[in-house]
């Protein structure tokens, strides 16, 4: 996960060189975008959010002293940005469920398999978005991005034991939601996140 840090690029980035900054953060871009996607209903909104976070990181790169890894620092900035966004009205809108696409992929070759795999992935993402951030963030960073407990703990600024505990509870909540959806045949409405705006979303039956 951690890419070797180019100190020349770091110095240039701290002097305000966007190209150097872009070179520094390039290895982290897909992960930051996926991280943002766990807070947004679609990729366009996630990209906006990721861009906001990275601009914020660019503005504050001078404060990066190298005490933590660049990845940890970047994720910390992103996490703060995402949580700030979530508190705002726009963020609540962004977290609502996405509308279903207009076109039907049923005519595509292998559409059933494609639909099934896409459906599972989207179902997982939706369930993840319904988790409270304190469960969602460790789950995404640990299970999806493959970070270590220590790394996640450093980003969340809590002890490692807390992360283990939150991960365990996050998995349990996720399974509970997913299986409840399967049983009902519709999207679960028992939002586990207190005050999670997604509970106001338009629910549609899964295909």
């Amino acid at each position: 996960m951690a890419a070797p840090l180019d100190s020349d690029d770091l110095v240039l980035a701290q002097q305000g060189d966007p190209a150097a900054f872009e070179r520094l953060i390039r290895p982290y871009l897909p992960a930051v975008r996926r991280f943002a996607y766990s807070f947004c209903r679609d990729w366009a909104a996630a990209d906006d959010l990721a861009q906001d976070a990275l601009l914020k990181a660019f503005r504050s790169i001078r404060s990066f002293r190298g005490e933590a890894s660049l990845g940890t620092w970047l994720y910390s900035v992103a996490r703060t940005t995402f949580l700030d966004m979530r508190r705002g009205h726009l963020g609540k809108c962004r977290e609502l469920e996405a509308e279903l696409p207009d076109g039907s992929p049923a005519d595509e070759p292998g559409a059933d398999e494609l639909l099934a795999s896409r459906g599972d992935a989207e179902r997982l993402w939706r369930a993840i978005r319904r988790l409270e951030p304190r469960f969602r963030i460790p789950l995404v960073l640990f299970e999806i991005e493959g970070m270590s407990y220590e790394h996640v703990a450093a980003i969340e600024q809590v002890p490692v034991g807390t992360i283990r505990s939150r991960l365990s509870r996050a998995r349990a909540k996720l399974l509970e939601q997913l299986n409840a959806e399967e049983l009902d045949g519709v999207s679960a409405t028992s939002g586990t996140a207190e005050g999670n705006p997604s509970s106001h979303a338009v629910r549609r039956p899964y295909p």
Binding site: Q15, D17, P18, A19, D47, L55, D120, L124, G146, L175
Partner: protein, 318 residues
């Protein structure tokens, strides 16, 4: 129907670790970073503006941000074409931004910030051929941030600017009152539109009889060594406070918010920032007063307790 169980949940979660879809994210990010590096709040107003429109119009904001960057002269179309998927939204929006007709100022009823370009321009068209070599590309990229580098050579907005002197610092050309569009086009239509705008602006300035105070303040606000772009005049309609101008309604007719535009043009932060600072100062003062009060009360309580102890001891002693 999928039955989810704990044993394969981790595997399924790990399968979500796939590359995100190609949306031109890197191109847009680079444009936004360049905007930030070039002009800070001034240029990133384009990005904020684009994002706001994108949200309002239900269009993905990233292509719009890229389009705004192109329209604002921060990057050029060939660069967008190289860094985003062919035929994607980013390219389409960027092209649309370039081909959008230049808006003529509407003096009545709304704030209009008109910027007129000087006739002499180093490169008449921003549609310069794309850099052919990696070295040239790097030069373009580096030109965004290295102060004092000969940016006129690489600047895609060259049609709007005078050539830079050696060591001179370039700043982005910002037309806050206009939709992002290309200026300085060598084609006759655009040229005539540009001339018309120049003439209209000159007419207004002459008609005013003396310099507009807003114009004067704008001019004074330009620091020495900064790139000056023609004449700038700020007009507010009689029935509308520019700072109350609502957000843009649609892509075609949208403008950056007037308050932001004015703030950006003067290089100052917005009134919201000033308000935030005032609130922070007030809060700090109040906190200090509370702390002093609490300290005083603690001291009084301590004195009283000491006194009681002394009295108690005296009584016990008696």
């Amino acid at each position: 129907m999928t039955r989810w169980n704990e044993s394969d949940l981790s595997r399924r979660l790990a399968e979500l670790r796939v590359p995100p879809p190609e949306t031109g994210f890197e191109a847009s990010l680079m444009a936004a970073l360049a905007a930030e590096a070039l002009g800070g709040a001034r240029s990133s107003a384009w990005v904020r503006w684009a994002r706001r429109i994108g949200m309002g119009a239900g269009i993905a904001a990233l292509p719009l941000a890229a389009a705004a960057a192109v329209g604002g002269g921060l990057v050029n179309l060939p660069w967008v074409e190289r860094t985003s998927p062919p035929g994607g939204d980013t390219q389409v929006m960027a092209e649309r931004a370039l081909n959008a007709p230049r808006r003529t100022p509407e003096p009545i009823g709304r704030a209009v910030l008109t910027t007129t370009a000087p006739e002499s321009a180093a490169h008449p068209s921003p549609m310069r051929p794309p850099p052919e070599t990696g070295r040239e590309l790097a030069h373009v990229a580096n030109g965004w941030s290295r102060r004092g580098s000969p940016r006129a050579e690489a600047a895609p907005m060259a049609g709007k600017v005078s050539p830079l002197a050696e060591g001179e610092q370039a700043t982005p050309v910002h037309h806050p009152g206009e939709a992002p569009t290309r200026t300085g086009d060598s084609s006759s239509g655009s040229q005539s539109r540009l001339e018309g705008t120049v003439a209209a602006a000159e007419e207004r300035v002459e008609g005013a009889g003396r310099p507009d105070p807003a114009e004067s303040s704008l001019d004074r606000s330009s620091p020495p060594g900064r790139l000056r772009v023609g004449r700038v005049s700020l007009q507010a309609g009689p029935d509308e406070d520019p700072r109350r101008a609502g957000p843009p309604r649609s892509v075609g007719n949208a403008e950056p918010p007037a308050a932001e535009a004015a703030d950006d043009a003067t290089g100052h932060r917005g009134s919201a920032d000033r308000g935030a600072k005032a609130r922070a100062d007030r809060s700090h003062r109040e906190a200090r007063t509370r702390q002093e009060g609490a300290r005083e009360r603690r001291q009084q309580a301590g004195d009283a307790a000491r006194e009681r102890r002394q009295q108690g001891g005296g009584e016990r002693g008696r």
